[in-house]
């Protein structure tokens, strides 16, 4: 068998840095080639920032990990150049069914909104997600971009100094030292960087154990998400069935608190359990079985001088709501343009403090949502169980109770309301595209709005004329002039009742400022503010 997670993609190879007499200094080092580290490397390299990625391992991650990737993540992947591969391989689903005890209590259709290039989300094994990122890295290497991954390079010690970071790295051929102007720690929930720097990671630990099994079966279960509360095959607990590509199904069984983890993982225990769930006659093969407990916690700050934390290293959530990798990708989206501008000397270092503000805000939102889902799925007291079951009983008959059922609220990007880079909003424009919000996609001719945005700042003019070549505050802006005349989607999302509008859009596709008319001075001021210069 050679599954993708069994193949070394970036095997260890000796690097001249290991033989240097003095430690070589790099601009940016990333620890961790998980989804977050790989995405950060791509983003920086696309901005021509040289980057070295160090990973303990030499292949994509294996085992049952992320499967749900949200629209915003796919949009970020589009910007990074690998959205198509993920969407092509991924499974798109729209129907969810909720079961309580022995019966189905309702089904819902996600009714995804029209007028977006990407679906609300896809299901895709994390190893494929990482594979596509890795293939994109290779493409960039082939195109001569300054990006490098060093496999089986484990960071063993870190010295954080005011203007650089020192790293001690262990390899199969011994250790060596590197220096870096900046370090991005994407080394996962157990982050050795965090530990070596003695930093906190506080929050809630949930006691319940979950058996997560990925099974290969040729069953004709529909492409739907099925969630059970208190089913006969897993009494008093919950269960989830969700489809992934290649006839792999994710099965998630809550096991409760006091269990023998080793015993529960054994096939002779797991297989009968799954048979009870899927039906005696269904044939399946176990791809992977593991037992997890979940945490919801974050670091107090994500930036510590020249060391910046992103992804699971900075924050961890329970998987209900699929906010782990999805939010890590938003960290990358938020961080890389800022770091690139600071490195280029275009923006002051304090621009990076806005990463801290904005992504802590995102992490808090994700922690809140996944904590609430976890509390609903695994009630912590008798009375919370009484209310939970009351909601489910009512939901079987009445529409009003269904929004209260919480088996995971799917990941949506955070709106940076009150964010430090926003300029005060103009009145009369639609709320969903307010400053701090991610740009909402819309059809544009044969293509899509998001695809038309630049890698830097973009000035979007809807039914207003602006100069074609625009340099403000020393920056050449991408300008995009569009008309909402025959485009009701664009009108609803960007004009509302207004006749015209101007949007200043950040490199991470969040709105920095907007107006109902063009005023070069106002745009200059907003741009200067959005890079923390004023």
């Amino acid at each position: 068998m050679n599954k993708i997670f069994e193949i070394p993609l970036y095997p260890y190879a000796r690097h001249p840095d290991q033989d240097a007499t003095h430690p070589v200094r790099h601009k940016v080092i990333i620890i961790g080639a998980g989804p977050v580290g790989l995405a950060a490397a791509i983003d920086l390299a696309q901005r021509d920032v040289p980057v070295v990625v160090l990973d303990d391992n030499d292949r994509v991650s294996f085992g049952s990990r992320a499967i749900c990737f949200a629209k915003r993540t796919l949009e970020i992947l589009d910007r990074l150049g690998c959205g198509e591969a993920a969407v092509e391989k991924g499974v798109t689903w729209n129907t969810g069914r909720v079961f309580f005890d022995e019966r189905e209590i309702y089904a819902f259709d996600l009714l995804p909104e029209d007028g977006h290039k990407r679906p609300a989300f896809i299901n895709l094994q994390q190893y494929y997600f990482e594979q596509f990122l890795f293939e994109r890295v290779q493409q960039l290497v082939d195109a001569g971009k300054p990006i490098e991954i060093r496999g089986r390079n484990r960071v063993e010690a870190i010295g954080a100094h005011p203007d650089h970071v020192r790293l001690e790295i262990e390899t199969p051929e011994g250790s060596y030292e590197l220096h870096s102007d900046w370090l991005i720690a994407c080394d996962g929930a157990g982050s050795p960087t965090r530990r070596m720097m003695g930093l906190d990671f506080v929050g809630r630990v949930f006691e319940d154990n979950f058996l997560i099994a990925d099974v290969v079966m040729k069953a004709d279960f529909p492409t739907e998400r099925w969630f059970w509360f208190d089913p006969p095959f897993n009494r008093g607990q919950s269960a989830l069935l969700h489809r992934q590509p290649d006839n792999v199904w994710r099965i998630d069984l809550q096991l409760g608190c006091d269990i023998d983890r080793e015993a529960e993982k054994r096939p002779e225990r797991v297989i009968p359990r799954l048979k009870e769930m899927l039906g005696e006659e269904v044939e399946f093969e176990l791809e992977w079985v593991s037992i997890y407990t979940f945490q919801c916690r974050r670091m107090e700050r994500f930036r510590h001088g020249r060391v910046i934390f992103a992804g699971d290293a900075a924050h961890q959530v329970s998987p209900f709501g699929a906010r782990g990798a999805n939010s890590g990708l938003q960290d990358v989206d938020n961080l890389c343009w800022k770091l690139a501008m600071v490195l280029e000397g275009q923006a002051p270092e304090r621009l990076l403090d806005s990463y801290d503000w904005e992504r802590v805000c995102g992490a808090d939102e994700n922690i809140l949502n996944s904590t609430r889902s976890t509390d609903f799925i695994t009630p912590k007291s008798d009375i919370s169980k009484v209310f939970r079951n009351a909601v489910l009983d009512l939901a079987a008959r009445h529409e009003f109770a269904r929004p209260l059922v919480n088996s995971g609220r799917l990941s949506v990007p955070c709106v940076y309301d009150e964010g430090p880079l926003n300029t005060e909003d103009a009145t009369g424009l639609p709320a969903r595209t307010r400053p701090g919000a991610p740009v909402v996609d819309a059809p544009l001719g044969e293509g899509w709005l998001l695809d038309a945005l630049g890698q830097g700042f973009t000035l979007l003019a809807v039914d207003v004329s602006i100069p074609e070549d625009l340099t403000l505050a020393g920056f050449a802006l991408t300008t995009l002039s569009v008309s909402a005349e025959d485009n009701p989607t664009l009108r609803a999302r960007y004009l509302g009742d207004a006749q015209k509008a101007i949007y200043l859009i950040r490199p991470d596709q969040h709105v920095a400022a907007r107006w109902t008319d063009y005023d070069a001075e106002a745009v200059t001021a907003a741009l200067t503010h959005a890079i923390a210069k004023a």
Binding site: F387, A390, L394
Partner: protein
């Protein structure tokens, strides 16, 4: 926004009270708890207004006998 009503609003207080108790008759403790929970959810949805609901939650907490459930 309307305020939470704290003056008499039930036309027939005795009748409502009797009906409420009648619904619990013959129920086990667990069934009664479940009934109350459903009732709260139905009424909460009907009220809808989040500020009113927040006021009601606080009022219920504050009205506990002294020393037993102070906020």
């Amino acid at each position: 926004m309307s305020d939470l009503k704290l003056t008499r609003n039930l036309q027939d207080p005795d009748g409502f009270y009797a009906n409420l108790l009648a619904m619990h008759e013959g129920l086990s403790k667990a069934e009664s708890d479940a009934f109350n929970a459903r009732l709260i959810l139905i009424m909460a949805n009907h009220i809808g207004d989040e500020q009113l609901l927040a006021r009601a939650l606080h009022l219920a907490a504050e009205s506990a006998p002294e020393g037993r459930h102070g906020l």
